[in-house]
Amino acid sequence: MKKISRRRFVEGTSVGIVAVAAIPEIKAQEKPASTLPRVPRTAIRINVNGVDHRVDVEDRWTLVELLRDHLELTGTKIGCDRGECGACTVLVDGTPLYSCSQLAVWMNGRSIQTVEGLAKNGKLDPLQEAFIEHDAPQCGYCTSGQLMIAKALLMKNARPTRDEVRTAMTGNLCRCSNYNHYVEAVMAASGSTPSTGGGNAA
């Protein structure tokens, strides 16, 4: 996907992406310079991490494509692009979803939270603090997804048990397999028990 910076958009390119407080009208679709086949596009309004965007999206774009390639939010990762690994987990109106398995056009009017939106006013979310403290990320590639699924869990269940944490997070793979430290970190962030790690009970 050819990435267009906000600046270039404002200067008048054809792909419409803009982030402003007052939402401007979508620019009329200009004819692209090349003879690229015309791909159906739809204008959507989407709020990402508290910022409103009006975006002219190709109907075939997934949400994660929109976030990564067009809104420059690369913190959300793609691990499989087929709904198996959870690396792309984001919150859509507070619900954790695999953003590889959602089309961007479906997101019209929705609010998205990504890993970039976890820290508030320069202060890390307690989950982020606990992830650092307990060495939850090894390679770190699944970490954004693990953070978002944990965030969704703690919003619903502030004091989960270890097994509740493991169950909630089981759709989020970590091939470094640092599952013990992830569970330990979420338990610590929730403040529910001393950190004893994850795992099947003996």
């Binding site: 691990g79 690994c85 890390l124 650092i132 990320p137 770190g140 599952y179 013990n180 430290h181």
Partner: protein, 702 residues
């Protein structure tokens, strides 16, 4: 062992903040102006000759900028096959997934659309998926010279090792045991898929690669593209896991570079998850046959192993098996024959030659112990290695302590059933153990250390940090040697333009080898400071070191481990779960107990997946992979992972940085066998084939 100020204390990763905020820039996050996207078209057939490729429709698709096939690109991918038999695009294609074309286009959708417009006329050839079938007379030859690959001396013979005389040893035995074990091909399955971004500026090529070794990657790219190494820059600042399948350079690096050259624009080439499963590589499968001779008092007299290993369609890895070295035995013969089939390529995955092989030998030794009515732990304490290959003393060995302290933590005596399978059921509990070892050789690496006039220290190391916390480890080692806090050290990594050569992050070598280079560079810097005084203002002091490690004549340097597993097996459903796990490790001094614990727990968890459910399956009739992906190959999840208790046995090791030995790979070596032995202890029947799935458990119980 003398406590140290910085090394040996639990320390957060120096890049942890980037990893939890989305700020860490991985290769797939790189976006260059005017960048094209590339996709690969792959063979749908396990074995076929390409008669003709028609690109006309694909080239006519607006937005398509460049296409490579075997017709316009005959580049050899040298790290894709140790014998030089593999090009980027091969004809014939030798497995379902062998690349046929690579397309660069203005966006990834157009590139993908173009793959469907390429018309390939294939002459479908007979194919092989089975190791024994491949060696039968008359089997279709996948490579010239047949399907038995060359040994590591490039001779048409098995890889062998011999000491003593096995025939004599078996004659001297009171009892002889024979058995066969098999293991499956299973995938590294790291979360970050293969991705490369290549950009040319005149003659200078920059590749953003997802690599475990920027220096090796650069060397490989330069060799294969026949350009000067000075003209290649490799950048890998954050890397999303590899466990051995991102060693050296990847075909995607070369394809991206060549597409970028042809298109005159930067190119990002991304593999899909399915491609990562079938077209990169996984651990080689094996068929192992053993004979073991033993005295009635439990003393081993002979071990003989003959094995076939599954190389897949090319020879990317050693395809060796190394489990028998954990036993002291006067007579040992091993013979390993790597075999080609028309399946996914096999190569390095965390301790490549070990866990499948340790599964075989440790399963059999368990049976021997039970047959002799010995506690398997006592049997191992009696027969464990004491000298490397029974002759060379180890620089340090904590294997006995790993067994004893691990057993104590695990409560072996309480959890192990003297009568296997004696539980009431239907859920039966059992305990098993196994041991392992791994080489921890000294070797050459480099580092640069700087001190500026503001008192800031910089450590330049060519690491990418594959998840092991290598950046932090290098910082800790420098800080310790300098006698300053870690915060005063800035680590510079991940770019061949700013970092000296570092041994690749494979073979669990970085801590030991690049760590020693950091120490030597710091010593030089301290000497300079003593001679010239600390730099002021714009002054700067720079020290560099390329280590020339001592030859360990008459000594062997190894890490050791013992793992303990408790399982629950439902004998009605065949469902097995690991309920308790202890990993005891001698890796010398532990540089960072926090991140080292992550390594050990993660390695054990990967091993449990390998033991119980992970494998890549092929349909024998079509030669096609059946389950390429996370769900299908049943990769470990949060719910599969038990709590892993870690026991450190910190031996006083005279060599290496502050006495550190290798850690990353040993963490998976005994795991698989420990789980297998626990299942035997629970149900009283032995499953001899990995993974130990429910159907196999029910099968042995039937």
């Amino acid at each position: 062992m003398t406590p140290l100020k910085t090394v040996g204390h639990a320390t957060h990763r120096i890049d942890a903040l980037q990893r939890v905020t989305g700020g860490a820039k991985y290769t797939s996050d790189v976006h260059l102006p005017g960048m094209l996207y590339a996709r690969v078209l792959r063979s749908p057939h396990p074995h076929a000759r390409i008669r003709k490729i028609d690109l006309s429709k694909a080239m006519a698709l607006p937005g398509v900028k460049a296409i490579l096939t075997h017709e316009n690109c005959d580049t050899t991918w040298s790290s894709g096959d140790q014998l030089g038999q593999r090009r980027l695009f091969n004809n014939p294609v030798r497995f379902a997934g062998d690349p046929v074309a690579a397309i660069a286009a203005v966006d990834r959708h157009v590139a993908e659309d173009a793959t469907h417009l390429i018309e390939v006329d294939y002459e479908v050839l007979p194919f092989l998926t089975d190791l024994e079938e491949a060696l039968k007379p008359g089997a279709v030859a996948i490579h010239e010279g047949g399907n038995l690959s060359l040994n590591n001396q490039r001779q048409p013979a098995p890889q062998t090792y011999k000491r003593g005389n096995v025939a004599d040893g078996l004659k001297a035995a009171d009892r002889v045991f024979e058995d066969n074990f098999t293991s499956a091909h299973h995938n590294n399955a790291q979360l970050e898929m293969r991705v490369s971004v290549a950009e040319w500026s005149g003659d200078k090529l920059t590749v953003h690669a997802a690599t475990q070794g920027i220096a090796n990657c650069r060397t490989d790219i330069a060799r294969d593209l026949k350009i000067s190494e000075d003209n290649v820059r490799v950048i890998s600042e954050y890397m999303g896991g590899g466990f051995g399948n991102k060693n050296q350079c990847q075909d995607s690096d070369l394809m991206a570079a060549m597409l970028a050259k042809q298109a005159g624009a930067p190119v990002k080439l991304e593999f899909t998850r399915k491609e990562d499963f079938v077209a990169v590589h996984g651990r080689w499968s094996s068929r192992q046959s053993y004979k073991v001779g033993v005295k009635n008092d439990g003393t081993l007299t002979a071990i003989q192993m003959t094995a076939l290993t599954g190389a897949g369609a090319y020879r990317k890895g050693s395809c060796d098996l190394s489990g028998t070295e954990i036993y002291q035995v006067p007579n040992l013969e091993t013979s390993v024959s790597p075999v080609y089939t028309n399946t996914a390529v096999a190569a390095n995955y965390r301790a490549p030659a070990y866990p499948q092989s340790v599964f075989g030998i440790e399963s059999l030794m368990d049976d021997v112990a039970y047959a002799l009515k010995m506690d398997p732990m006592e049997f191992r304490l009696k027969n464990m290695t004491r000298k490397f290959r029974d002759q060379t003393p180890y620089t340090s060995i904590g294997l006995e302590d790993c067994i004893r302290k691990g057993a104590e933590k695990f409560e072996w005596k309480k959890r192990w059933n003297p009568v296997p399978g004696s539980g009431a059921g239907p859920v039966k509990r059992g305990a098993g153990m196994a041991m392992g070892m791994f080489g921890s050789g000294l070797g050459r690496s480099s580092a640069v250390v700087r001190l500026d006039g503001q008192g800031q220290y910089y450590v330049h190391v060519g690491v990418t940090d594959v998840g092991t916390a290598a950046k932090t480890t290098m910082g800790l080692i420098a800080a310790e040697e300098l006698g300053i806090p870690l915060e005063k050290v800035k680590v510079v990594w991940g770019d061949t333009d700013t970092c000296p050569y570092s041994v690749g992050e494979s073979g669990s070598r970085t801590t030991v080898q690049t760590g020693m280079a950091v120490i030597e560079a710091v010593r030089d810097l301290k000497k300079q400071i003593a001679e010239k005084g600390a730099p002021k203002g714009n002054e700067i002091l720079t020290a560099m070191a390329t280590t020339n490690p001592p030859q360990l004549q008459g000594q062997s340097r190894n890490s050791f481990a013992a793992h303990f597993a408790e399982v629950e097996v439902n004998v009605e459903t065949g469902h097995a779960i690991v309920t308790r796990f202890v990993s005891a490790h001698d890796s010398g001094r532990v540089v960072n107990p926090l991140t080292a614990q992550s390594q050990v727990q993660g390695g054990a968890s990967q091993g449990i997946g390998m033991a119980l459910h992970e494998e890549l399956l092929y349909d024998k009739r079509s030669g096609l992979p059946l389950n390429a992906g996370y769900y299908g190959a049943r990769i470990m999840t949060h719910l599969d992972a038990p709590l892993v208790d870690v026991v450190w046995v910190e031996t006083d090791e005279p060599y290496g940085p502050f006495g550190a030995k290798t850690l990353g790979e040993p963490t998976i070596i005994p795991t698989v066998a420990a789980v297998a032995n626990a299942i035997y202890n629970a149900i009283g029947r032995r499953v001899k084939s990995l993974p130990i799935t429910r159907d196999k458990i029910l099968g042995v119980l039937a």
